[in-house]
């Protein structure tokens, strides 16, 4: 009779284990407050990304359209993917000396892996990571960006 008892207990423990799982799914079926779905485009206004979130590299400009980039190319050297290309020019200071300055800060978003190494490398904190994340565009050339605003110049006193 031993094997019959085993057979029956097998069947019962199996059914019990199945019912246990069904209890859990049944609980979630009836408890709609457990739902975790975020309805993305709808909650766009309330969506707050952490301040450290790395979306893309931007250059900080103040209200006078001045930035802090000296064109030292530390970020360009730090970048593992050749994402950043800095084109420099020579400004003539009032004293008549030639001074290296930033002409164009070219940023290839399509190559960027958001590793934050350029931000770490920047000695003057001229660039930072923005919290934007919707980068899709229809044309790849739009992903190559110029980070310094047109007509912007370096802030006074930054070497």
């Amino acid at each position: 009779m031993g094997f019959i008892r085993k057979y029956i207990t097998d069947v019962f423990s199996a059914v019990k284990s199945l019912l246990k799982g069904m209890k859990l799914t049944g609980y979630y079926f009836t408890h709609h407050k457990e739902i975790i779905t975020q309805q993305y485009p709808d909650n766009k206004d309330t969506l707050v990304l952490p301040e450290r979130f790395r979306g893309e590299v931007v250059m900080i400009h103040d209200e006078n359209n001045e930035h802090a980039c000296t064109g030292c190319t530390a970020c360009e050297l730090a970048c593992p993917n050749a994402t950043i290309k800095i084109i420099t020019k020579f400004d003539i200071t009032p004293e008549g000396k030639k001074k290296k300055a930033l002409d164009t800060f070219v940023y290839h978003l399509e190559l960027c892996t958001m590793c934050n190494l350029c931000i770490e490398a920047c000695p003057t904190s001229a660039i930072k990571m923005a919290q934007t994340f919707e980068h899709s565009v229809f044309d790849r050339s739009q992903l190559t960006k110029k980070l310094n605003n047109p007509g912007s110049k370096i802030r006074e006193g930054i070497e």
Partner: protein, 383 residues
């Protein structure tokens, strides 16, 4: 006493087919297949539903990270390793940072060490929860996947807040970590701990105890201890066969030797044992996080390092325990700013080499369960 599996002496030869000559069916699982979790391509020789041979074809997402790293500096190459085992990218980065630090002989501040271990263990939980969901999905239960993602999202949110990214964090730098912890970190992790303690019991209720799941995994995909060692298996997959191989215990790095945790070893050798090891590991990782979360020392989060790192001439090897097993970084330095040769010993690659041995003689359905419990991440295998 461990279960023994037959060792087929010549790996290239399939066992002679019974009955009709040429009656074998060759079927391609992958590169695009729901069970391979990526672009793994398995060429399977079948006799009816029984597997006679499994032959992995790799390289569909091989990016040659090793070659790439040869032209990157010691600060730069770490980011690339996030892309290998993307589910435990923190731990990969950690291994690379450790190797560079070994070469430079930098002392890591205590705070940075604790942060690193905390992040590693959170990553391990996140990786194992995802594995749990995917594993359950492989054997046909679809609900666990969503429950697993609920917990994984919580960890990802914590990571996002502190590290700035959700998947490829690049948080470890030679000498410490990139940022200090976010002010919300402790509060959020504590919330997660209380949440997860309840939910992991639900996991057991839903899947572990389920009789169908037990039948699908018990005595399926058996690999003996000797074979597991011979196949170079590591991580939970090897520990399920009774191999003591937790790098955190055997070769402690950071502060692991001061922590209270168990190395989970099962002797079932089958898919269910591999499953159990991971489930128990999640609880262990949670207890490590619990031990550390209130005891984060103050101080620097990054050691002072030179702007340009130059490793001395020589060879450096560091190993860490990722969610999938032993991750090794082997750097050959010529004294320059870039590694001369870098080799990543990825756990998935060695574990994959055992797949043919494990899966022979089982059914197609078993193969899926075996691959689920071996927990392959394909970029980790391909590198």
């Amino acid at each position: 006493m461990y279960r023994q599996t037959e060792i087929i002496s010549d790996l290239s030869k399939t066992p002679p087919s019974e009955g009709l000559e040429g009656a074998d069916m060759i079927i391609n699982i992958g590169p695009q297949h729901p069970a391979t979790h990526g672009v793994l391509h398995l060429v399977i020789t079948l006799n009816g539903e029984t597997i006679k041979k499994v032959e992995p074809h790799l390289g569909y997402i091989h990016r040659s990270i090793e070659k790439m790293c040869e032209s990157l500096s010691y600060r730069q190459f770490i980011y690339a390793t996030s892309r290998m085992d993307y589910l435990s990218s923190h731990i990969n980065n950690h291994g690379c940072a450790l190797c560079v630090e070994k070469g430079l002989q930098i002392e890591i501040p205590a705070r940075a060490q604790v942060i690193r271990v905390l992040m590693d263990e959170l990553t391990r939980i996140a990786s194992h929860t995802l594995w749990w969901g995917a594993m359950a999905m492989d054997v046909g239960a679809l609900t666990p996947f969503f429950l697993a993602f609920r917990e994984r999202e919580m960890i990802n949110d914590i990571m996002e807040e502190t590290c700035g990214a959700r998947l490829t964090m690049n948080y470890m730098v030679p000498g410490g970590v990139m940022f200090d912890l976010h002010p919300n970190f402790q509060k959020k992790v504590k919330e997660f701990i209380t949440h997860f303690k309840n939910k992991i019991d639900e996991y057991d209720e839903l899947v572990t105890d389920n009789v169908i799941f037990r039948n699908r995994t018990e005595n399926v995909g058996v690999i003996s201890k000797e074979d597991a060692i011979s196949y170079g298996m590591s991580g939970p997959s090897a520990r399920a066969s009774g191999v003591q191989c937790d790098i955190r215990k055997l070769y402690p790095y950071e502060i692991y030797n001061q922590l209270q945790f168990e190395e989970i070893i099962e002797t079932g050798c089958d898919s269910f044992a591999r499953y159990l090891v991971r489930m128990k590991e999640m609880r262990q990782s949670l207890s490590i996080v619990e031990q550390l979360i209130d005891n984060i020392p103050d101080g620097e989060f990054q050691a002072k390092t030179k702007a340009v790192l130059k490793l001395p001439k020589g060879e450096f090897y560091s190993r860490v325990e990722t969610a999938r097993g032993e991750f090794g970084v082997y750097i050959v330095s010529e004294g320059g700013t870039t590694p001369y040769r870098i080799k990543f010993r990825s756990p998935g690659f060695s574990n994959l080499s055992s797949l043919d041995h494990i899966a022979r003689g089982s059914k197609i359905g078993d193969l899926v369960a075996i691959m689920g419990t071996l927990d392959f991440v394909i970029p980790d295998i391909d590198r």
